[in-house]
Amino acid sequence: MSVAAVTGFPAGRQKRVLPGFGLTMGLTLTYVGIIVLLPVIALVLKGAEIGPVRFWEIVTAPRTLAALRLTITAAALATVFNAAYGLLMAWVLVRYRFPGRRLLDAMMDIPFALPTAVAGLALTALFSENGWYGQVLAPAGFPVVYTIWGVAVAMSFTSIPFVVRTVQPILEDLEPGQEEAARTLGATPWQIFTRVIFPAILPAYLIGTTIAFARSLGEFGAVIFIAGNLPMKTEIASLLAVIRLEEYDYNGAAAIALTLVAIALALLVVSNWLQSRLTRRRVPA
């Protein structure tokens, strides 16, 4: 694909030959302005209204801190699991041929297709003390529902596809040459994986885990079913923002929401930076 095909036309000469510039520009700007920009501006203005001192007070209040800590810790736990499971799934789906592979591949899309409330309901029932999983786990001294582990389970379910779907295409496109060379030189399969394959998929792998982490931090629907939402214990930060709204504490809600948006945007910057490194490396090949 040539560069010109991607960017449209060389600027200047052939610009705006086709009709519809004014119409589509007007429509898009108006729509994005009203639907996307205006609400985000409302958040930023409300946040600016608070003032730095009060903002800091809200964010460092014990209940907010506990909620942020829980959200970040559970998201990290979920991401560790997804990083391992996602890599395994990508590897198995790309490298091996076995009956049922396509079905297994389709299963990876279920967590995205299933509404989060449905996922939360099913996981809560399965992990509750009399549920199929809870019956085994709770007596073993490992209660899941209403604990941080429940939050992590819900977060990891809804973000399963990110690692698999970012690593899969890169793994598929790997040239076999290097691996064959390594094998001829007597490398063991494990050496080939750690020295040849893993470095090649690492940028994509990091992007996938970063997005999975960001998604886990933002997960709400699945979590609130299984968490029990006890203040200071299993209350996630976004729920606390909603509770503040319901108490008409708009400043409190805006401060917490802005903190979460800031974290999400920081992660987005990281993933974009990884993406640019990835494309730069892949273009000359």
Partner: protein
């Protein structure tokens, strides 16, 4: 692209043992994490027999939730299609200052978690929100009513169509459209006869994804809807309400309808992905 030779065919025996171990682990984990919850939804919904299931679905509040969710889907779909096409046309066919910034703005809803989107909408339209006083003066009701649910659903679903159509339009280039223009076609004719046939599968794919999301959205809607029983409760919210009422079988009955929709979406996705590639 798949490797020409399945690597396992040439591998020594020890590799093959590792291979089956990894496949077994992958299958077992997926079974526990994905398949069992999926099956469990239907099993639990039907656990007290089909009569109870039907009764749960036909409960007035659940029926109203199904109706409300359908209304939201039917209203948001054409809006998403129109704006998705307009945005894709604008960005793929023209160069202008701020083009990249606009693209970032269009994709912004993907980076903001839906629950935060709901909070933003409340800070905008709420009683003490940015536009709250104006709305109160004009006696316009947006929050805790259908308009709020529609608006926040549009926020959450707005990037879907453009994201599918835009890369395709960029890859195809505009030679065909320019040829049509030279031959004297009007803008509408170019769109209907040249562009639309080229992008129709991507358009349909984007529409399916956006609608699936509109039907299943929970976080954003839960903030702005107020979840008034039989009035502003969408189907995902109804699941939570039934769950909190300890009507677990009823909650699973409502959930099973959404799960069926999700499975249909998956099938459509598989079909359409084959066509758009």
């Amino acid at each position: 692209m798949t490797p020409a030779i399945a690597p396992a065919a040439l591998a020594p025996r020890q590799d093959r043992r590792a291979q089956w171990l990894l496949i077994g682990l992958a299958v077992a984990l997926t079974l526990f994490i994905v398949v069992v919850p999926l099956v469990y939804i239907f099993w639990r919904a039907l656990s007290e027999g089909f009569a109870v299931f039907a009764q749960n679905i036909m409960a007035p509040d659940t029926l109203h939730a199904i109706w409300l969710t359908s209304v939201v889907a039917v209203i948001t779909l054409p809006v998403n299609l129109a704006i998705g096409i307009a945005a894709a046309w604008l960005i793929a066919r023209f160069t202008f200052p701020g083009r990249k910034a606009l693209l970032t703005l269009i994709e912004l809803p993907f980076s903001i978690s839906p629950i935060i989107a709901g909070v933003c909408y409340l800070l905008l339209y709420g009683r003490q929100g940015l536009l709250g006083p104006v709305l109160a003066a004009g006696d316009v009701k947006i929050l805790f009513a259908l308009p709020g649910i529609i608006l926040v659903t549009l926020f959450v679903t707005s990037p879907f169509v453009a994201r599918e159509v835009l890369p395709l339009m960029q890859a195809q280039g505009s030679e065909q459209e320019q040829a049509a223009l030279t031959l004297g076609a009007s803008g509408w004719q170019i769109f209907r006869r040249v562009t639309l046939p080229n992008i129709r599968w991507a358009l349909l794919y984007g529409a399916v994804l956006a609608t699936a999301r509109a039907v299943g959205e929970f976080g954003a809607v839960s903030v702005v809807s107020g979840a008034i029983r039989g009035q502003t409760n969408t189907l995902p919210l109804q699941i939570e309400l039934l769950f909190n009422d300890l009507n677990i079988v009823g909650a699973f009955a409502a959930a099973s309808t959404l799960t069926l929709i999700a499975l249909v979406v998956l099938v459509l996705k598989t079909v359409l992905e084959g066509r758009t590639r």
